[in-house]
């Protein structure tokens, strides 16, 4: 089986997405079984890799600069070097072995998009915050942060092609299909959800599964009794020497989508590197 994770980043003036991708790639290498730990990086300028001690965690580096920021992810099917791919948001960390689910996906589906998320207390997120575009326009509740697909699948190709069209023509698609609640930006989540709805494939690509379990650290979905601007204002993130993560008083085992783009410090990078080197 030729499987791997695909991370797509581009240079940003405020945030170091490459550093986040490096942390995620190390966490994948640290936790996944051999054969399930390949990582490909798509980047607009690969010179930034020279700053890292272990750039080899990226098994493939693909220099590509046709799109910027998150728009690049909608090209995941064209960019991947793998037959079977999971494309991830880069502001995530892997915290245990999830390899057995890859076997499930490769055997059972050509395209699967995450459709739920969890709080740091492992409660299912039911809040409508950040998701009014989805609920008011009756879109499937898709999250592009974890997208599995098979290369050369007609289903996946159609889905991604329409997704690209939506991202390229946001005003037209907003006017036609998102009139009940117009998002400021049609991001990858909205594009994927609308693509699935228009193609009428939601049930094929987002049926209920116990995986991926992703703890989504957006502040307004944490079931707190008051509004919050940032999760890190209210609970601590503690990475120990074994690269095990606690948030508040909760040990994390789900994939952690930490959202805060400044979370990955040099100290965290050092911890992840030490675990990597000892493996």
């Amino acid at each position: 089986m030729n499987f791997g994770y695909l991370l797509v980043v581009s240079t940003h003036k405020d945030f170091n997405y490459l550093k986040m991708a490096y942390a995620l790639a190390m966490s994948i290498k640290n936790t996944q079984k051999e054969g399930y730990d390949q990582v490909a990086l798509v980047i607009d300028d690969k010179s930034g890799l020279d700053n890292f001690n272990s750039p080899w965690v990226f098994d493939h580096v693909i220099e590509w600069n046709q799109e910027t920021f998150w728009d690049g992810r909608s090209w995941m099917d064209k960019l991947t070097p793998f037959d079977h791919t999971v494309c991830l948001d880069v502001d995530m960390l892997f915290l245990r072995d999830y390899s057995h689910w890859i076997d499930y996906f490769t055997e059972n589906t050509e395209l699967y998009v995450a459709n739920k998320s969890y709080t740091y207390r492992d409660e299912l997120v039911t809040s409508n915050a950040y998701r009014e575009t989805f609920t008011k326009n009756k879109l499937p509740n898709l999250y592009s942060f974890y997208t599995f697909f098979k290369k050369d699948s007609n289903l996946a190709n159609e889905f991604f092609e329409l997704g690209r069209q939506i991202i390229k023509n946001p005003i037209e698609f907003k006017n036609l299909f998102l009139s009940n609640f117009r998002p400021q930006v049609v991001g990858t989540d909205e594009a994927f959800a609308l693509s699935a709805k228009l193609l009428d494939i939601s049930d094929q690509i987002s049926y209920p599964l116990e995986f991926p379990r992703v703890s989504h650290m957006k502040p307004m979905v944490q079931n707190w009794p008051w509004p919050a601007n940032s999760v890190t204002d209210h609970v601590g993130f503690y990475l120990n020497k074994r690269a095990e993560l606690k948030i508040g008083n909760y040990q994390q085992h789900n994939i952690c989508h930490y959202v805060d783009k400044n979370l990955i410090t040099d100290e965290w990078i050092n911890i992840l590197e030490e675990v990597l080197w000892k493996k």
Partner: protein, 286 residues
């Protein structure tokens, strides 16, 4: 393996916990068909003698275990319908339940938890050594319980209810109760670590933290006792008619009350004074 029920009762000047324990113990004995023991202190025993319930207590309880009265400066507000009062709260001896219980498998209950069914008998023989109630369900169905009846603090861990605790005498349970004792002894430290208000010692919080730690710093509501049907202390037990208990349930924001009745259902009645007022009728059910 001897199974039995254990109840703690330490009277204060406002609440006759011994009387409550006699009622809840009698109901547990009848409906679960297991022996029941009481943990209490000498002053409470003296009051039981003076109030002439000691004979009934001796008939009901297999053992009356007398311990030193726990020192406490705990106080809490207790409602009785629309009335309320600040009362002392002697609740810190429950971490000793493991050592004090005469049973191999123990159901530890609060004295205001009344057992009217044999439902809890289904939980004696399960793999888990310590089981707690994972939640309280408001009898009013619309949820009047607060956020801190579900979590120990705004950002903190899940709150289990120590109103019902079932445990085996084994190493895991020993560890659990030792941990509860450590949390109790270092309550302010744990309040800082778990970000809850330490003003009043709560067994629910100490037991929740111990459960959380021993579950790998995670919530585990699967391996639990059933959730508690709960009547909050602003509600009143109005009458006991045969097996039917009728409550006046207080509405959220108005001085309105709604009548609700239950039968053959285990219930946690937080308005202790209204249990006392209906004591004789409730004892008829025994």
């Amino acid at each position: 393996m001897k199974k039995g029920c254990l109840i703690f009762a330490h009277n204060n000047r406002d609440i006759d916990y011994a009387k409550l324990a006699l009622l809840s113990g009698s109901l547990a004995k009848k409906n679960l068909n297991v022996p029941v023991s009481l943990v209490t202190d000498q002053s409470t025993v003296d009051w039981m003698t003076e109030s002439k319930i000691i004979d009934r207590a001796n008939n009901t309880f297999e053992h009356i275990i007398v311990i030193d009265r726990p020192k406490t400066d705990n106080q809490r507000i207790l409602h009785d319908g629309f009335e309320k009062k600040v009362i002392p709260f002697v609740n810190s001896s429950r971490s000793n339940a493991y050592d004090l219980s005469p049973y191999d498998k123990t159901l530890l209950i609060d004295s205001d938890f009344l057992i009217f069914s044999n439902r809890l008998n289904q939980y004696w023989d399960t793999a888990e050594s310590v089981k707690l109630a994972p939640a309280a369900n408001d009898i009013n169905s619309t949820d009047r319980l607060g956020y801190h009846d579900k979590f120990i603090s705004d950002t903190g861990i899940h709150l289990y209810w120590a109103t019902t605790v079932m445990f085996n005498k084994d190493l895991y349970s020993k560890l659990f109760f030792d941990l509860v004792e450590t949390i109790k002894s270092n309550y302010k430290y744990f309040a800082d670590l778990y970000m809850f208000n330490p003003k009043q010692y709560r067994n629910d919080i100490a037991f929740s933290i111990a459960k959380h730690i021993l579950s790998g710093f995670q919530t585990d509501t699967l391996n639990s006792l059933p959730s508690l049907l709960t009547v909050i202390d602003k509600d009143i037990l109005y009458s006991v008619d045969g097996k039917k208990l009728t409550f006046l349930i207080s509405a959220m924001k108005a001085e309105l009350q709604i009548a609700t009745a239950i039968q053959d259902t285990d219930v946690h009645i937080m308005n202790k004074q209204s249990i006392i007022r209906n004591f004789d009728n409730l004892m008829e059910l025994v």
